[in-house]
Symmetry: C2
Subunit: 686 residues, 2 copies
């Protein structure tokens, strides 16, 4: 299982660099005679040249994509997204490379010599008295010995799959975390978490089981020529459960579609990537002991669950911790006077999250996601204005390049990858399975969520979410990571087709679907939906301040209230220059620490309401909207009919809630005194 | 000669990524038994973890450096520059790694088997029926067979030298080209070219010969234990002639020291890097035929000169061509409506220069430099305001990270590099030689240049230039590129010490030196020096417009006038939105093409003088200052006594000059009509 396709995917021509390392690696075939040295030198130069050409191919592809995207955007063409376009260009170049270049055979005749027990990772070879060091590249099946260096050009354009995981995904995922529209994200956090965790698990399980049925069927009709275990099916379920509605979200953004729907889709896709990665690692880790290595084993299952929880929480912690450390550094130094230093520090710290997580055995990509969220929530507030735009733009460019690179590579891989296994039955089964899996994930969960949600997820939203289950970069990266066995090769080919189909067809159908489902477009992202909107079942309240306050508390889950008050009273003041001074929130015996940790700006901030960053990252403006899925609207007309009854029951609440309530009350009545960046809805006091 | 130190410098933990590729590479030692697979898996994970830790070390170093730099800047400490600081931290970590970590020996016992003739780059090994592929890593001297994997940690922190050339130098060099202060650069272009080409060649030759004397001496007193040829000495001369006054320039920038001195120093250091690279390649290419492989051979010498000219001009062309293509694309598409696409395109095109040059066998780093200059001269003008700051900031961050990484690596390398050869005689000789080489480069050339320059290079400037001959990233990268032989190892160790010494001592002495030499600080970079300044021997003229115009032409070399008029009349209008409309500059029979190529903005621009980009990149403001080394000052009081005599002689000039003259005259009298972004000195018409 752990045999990756290294034998076919040679030393990667490094993405962000010149691939020149190969020159050094290969020209070192120095030998006694000068003629031979020259020959090796020439070969090395040839190889270096080919590396450069293959990278140039990708750059040309991306340049073409950019120019065509511009043309499309210029002419407001929306049926094809840039990623779809990148895939098409990739396909074309793939066809040319596959059928247009001559098949060159390797320069060196392979040399065989028997070794005893198991292969060493390092090999010393004695050549007429000189010693040479070799490193292990991978195993080769005996039938393919003479195919190893078959087509140099195809070899050169084939990247090491780890490149996707370790170079291309991190900037994409970090950018997703860093650019989460916080207010709408937190407003729907409960639902997003439910979709991401429960939904992905359900989807993975259903797809896995359906595919196992398909595999059984294939075995019956003799379509299966090698082993395909139940764990392989489950792995396929995990891989293909990572949705990536990049094309849909781009159109949403452009048309200013409903912000809540956007938040639900974006939040779900971001978090379910993390879930899918960890889920697939857990499934790989599922190794029952004893003879029956592919049957159900309770111990192994619980071990897998433990692995899932451990990796996920560990990665989460890593990301959060580096984010917090960056926030502290940027708060307590006056680094914001030197934006270059600040940006460099921000970049290094964010990158170190990845390495730290990998060094500790967690998942770097997941850590980077949570680091991005933490950086956006805390560090961003401490940055200078210039660094805010710098960091945003830097990661935007990296994300753009990485994403389009992956999609154009996908197009290329359809023709240049040499171990495709296309099984029609499996592919049709997979399409049906992902449809059913998505349906079983969206509709029942939405029904359950709507029981608890005031701001219901309407049928049109559910249909749109169902429709937006595109698969993209993450599914590809997970699938290409291991293509050593028959089952994995079939899964990879199928994943590729699913990505193509969903990106082209579903991406192209987004605009018609939006209008067919009557989903609002042209919404101001800072404005909440009007209470009379058909899509929402908003209850009309009495609109009184006290009642709303109580309703807010009543509706929000206690966990979020607890978190909010902790974040607002302690974390924000400690980590950023905003929030109430710690001298007022901490007990009096902590006076000295509180004074040290509270930045002078906090006292200044008390005098003014700063709204500058309310769009990109909303600070304490989340006050009224952070509490779960509430529906305080701009005209203050919402509120439950049961508000007054809860007014009495709240006296029985715990002390932490009392504190929160005090805080709320204080914020309500003394907004100019406490004034800690609270951004209320426009007509809050109307 | 072409045996790099691959054997000691293992597969690089990739700089910009997570080094995770190794996991795939090494865990593929899959074998028949599950136990063994697990063992290999564990080993691979351990290796991956170590990679992450070693990268984390560097990130920690850079973070520390950033924080300390901030502290220094905050407290206005100027005696130690960030690069010097990065080296100190590198040194400390190097000491810890060298003496603090236990010496672990390799896990795998090396396996020897005799091979026939020469080592293959690929090796197939038969292990109990399974075939494994190995790649050649490098030769190992027989005595060190058991040392190969001696210290894993030291191995891990040692990068492939090609990383410096292919990853770290390009952003540094591109940024240098992109941020050349154009006006002052072009004003001193003649002198800068002379210093860079002639000066570097002189310096290389003198240092090479002096070092050959030192080597002879060492041979006499028995200090030399292996071969050290004349070509090695010349190579050392080329390597060590690449100056990098980064610390001096940073202080100049901070103190706003004289802009001309800044331009001379910066321009020289940027261009002499390019010259030094190509020079060292040419010296390596100097291979006399026949028996006497290390004596002088006229044919080989001229071949080397040909190689130099070929590589230099080829790289120059590559850089210029991609710059021009980018300018054309950005002009003729409305890409500037989408800054993200624009920035991405800019980045990709600039990177493709590097790959294109490498693919064609030229030098990518040199191509990138000229690409940067072209991008700044043309493309920059077509970019949207947002993209201008984006591209500038993006490359600034990359440059900052790459530079500090190299310097901290240098500190580390002093202790972790395991093949140092410190020879006191050679080191002292090298210090004397670089001092004499620099002196023989600066003073005679300045004397010759002053014969032709109106705006003389004063003694204090010459002393400052002499003093600022620091060595930095480029010398290091050139020296570490090949450390296979005894002579190269000695050269590398010596280069490292020279870099340390010059960066710390010379960098720290800049501020005292500036005040000791009475060099002006606090100069507004857009203001020309006052004519009464002691440092300048400015001739007082009659101040009449016509006389000045003539003098300007008389003083400027005809080559630059030709270039200027070509650039202003044809290139600028074709490649950017500025300059005069082509319909007025091209002959009338080209009317159609002229109308197609001229952008509508040009006609708009005729109405207004746009000065917005006059600081970072000055467009046609170069008009009065581009002409060689002239001294038109802000108060218009300069001018030669011989102006009127030249007034008559100019009638004999060629037709192209007549055209230029017309253009000049037109610009002079019809500035509001032609108004093509001309930015004149403040009191031009006073």
């Amino acid at each position: 299982m752990a045999e990756p396709l290294r034998r076919r995917l040679p030393l990667l021509p490094l993405l962000l660099l010149a691939a020149g390392g190969l020159r050094a690696a290969e020209r070192s075939g120095g030998s006694s005679s000068a003629m031979e040295e020259l020959a090796t030198e020439k070969e090395a130069e040839e190889s270096h040249r080919q590396d450069s050409v293959s990278l140039l191919t990708f750059i040309l592809l991306l340049t073409l994509t950019i120019l065509t995207i511009w043309l499309f955007k210029h002419r407001r063409v929306r049926f094809l997204h840039e990623t779809g376009l990148a895939m098409i260009y990739g396909l074309i170049v793939g066809v040319i490379l596959r059928y247009g270049t001559p098949s060159t055979s390797g320069h060196d005749k392979p040399f065989s010599c028997s070794q005893e027990d198991r292969p060493f990772t390092t090999l010393l070879v004695n050549v007429s008295g000189k010693f040479f060091e070799y490193t292990l590249k991978g195993e080769i099946s005996p039938g393919k010995i003479h195919n190893v260096e078959q087509n140099d050009m195809l070899r050169k354009v084939t990247f090491d799959p780890e490149v996707f995981f370790n170079i291309l995904l991190p900037p994409i995922i970090f950018h997703a975390g860093y650019s989460l529209k916080k207010r709408h994200f937190f407003r729907n956090l409960g639902s997003i978490l439910a979709y991401a965790f429960l939904g992905t698990a359900v989807s993975c399980f259903i797809i896995g089981n359906l595919m196992y049925g398909v595999v059984k069927l294939m075995k019956l009709v003799g379509q299966l020529s090698d082993k395909f275990y139940y764990t392989d099916c489950l792995l396929f379920g995990a891989i293909i459960s990572a949705t990536d509605p990049v094309t849909v979200l781009a159109i949403f953004n452009e048309l200013h579609a409903d912000v809540d729907l956007y938040a639900l889709l974006f939040g779900e896709s971001v978090l379910n990537d993390a879930v899918a990665i960890v889920l697939s690692s857990s499934i790989v880790a599922y190794q029952p002991t004893g003879e029956n290595t592919h049957a159900f084993d309770a111990a192994a299952f619980f071990k897998s669950v433990g692995v899932f929880l451990g990796i996920f929480s560990g990665s989460f912690m890593m990301g959060a911790v580096t984010g917090v450390v960056t926030a502290l550094i940027s708060k307590f130094t006056k680094l914001h006077c030197f934006p270059l230093l600040e940006t460099a520090l921000f970049f290094l710290m964010s990158w170190s999250t990845f390495l730290l997580a990998e060094a500790c055995g967690f998942t770097g990509v997941v850590a980077v996601l949570f680091c991005g969220i933490t950086q956006a929530h805390y560090t961003y507030n401490n940055l200078s204005v210039e660094s805010r735009s710098r960091t945003k733009q830097l990661f935007e460019v990296l994300h753009f390049l990485a994403e389009n690179f992956i999609f154009s590579y996908m197009g290329l891989a359809l023709f240049t990858f040499q171990k495709h296994i296309f099984s029609p039955v499996f592919i049709i089964g997979a399409f049906v399975a992902i449809f059913l899996g998505r349906a079983a994930h969206i509709y029942p969960l939405s029904f359950l969520l709507n029981l608890g949600r005031r701001h219901k997820i309407s049928w049109s939203f559910q249909h749109m979410m169902m429709f937006s289950g595109l698969r993209g970069a993450m599914a590809f990266a997970l699938a290409i990571r291991d293509t050593a066995t028959y089952s994995h090769q079939m899964m990879f080919s199928t994943t590729l087709l699913i990505v193509f189909f969903t990106v082209w067809i579903v991406g192209g159908g987004t605009t018609p679907m939006l209008s067919w489902l009557n989903i609002r477009v042209g919404v101001d992202p800072d404005q909440d939906p009007p209470p009379t909107n058909d899509s929402f079942q908003v209850l009309q309240g009495d609109g009184q301040d006290s009642a709303r306050r109580n309703r807010t508390k009543q509706e929000s889950a206690w966990l979020f209230r607890l978190w909010y008050s902790f974040d607002h009273n302690y974390l924000k003041p400690i980590l950023t220059h905003s929030g109430p001074p710690l001298t007022t929130t901490l007990p009096s015996w902590c006076g000295l620490i509180a004074r040290c940790l509270t930045s002078p700006q906090v006292y200044d901030n008390q005098e003014q309401l700063r709204e500058e960053d309310s769009d990109f990252i909303l600070n304490d403006g989340d006050l009224t909207v952070t509490y779960g899925d509430t529906t305080i609207t701009a005209n203050g007309s919402s509120g439950p009919h049961t508000a007054t009854t809860n007014l009495d029951s709240r006296r029985t609440k715990s002390s932490s809630e009392e504190a929160l309530e005090r805080d709320l009350g204080a914020a309500d009545h003394e907004v100019t005194n406490r004034g800690t960046r609270l951004v209320f809805p426009l007509e809050y006091n109307a």
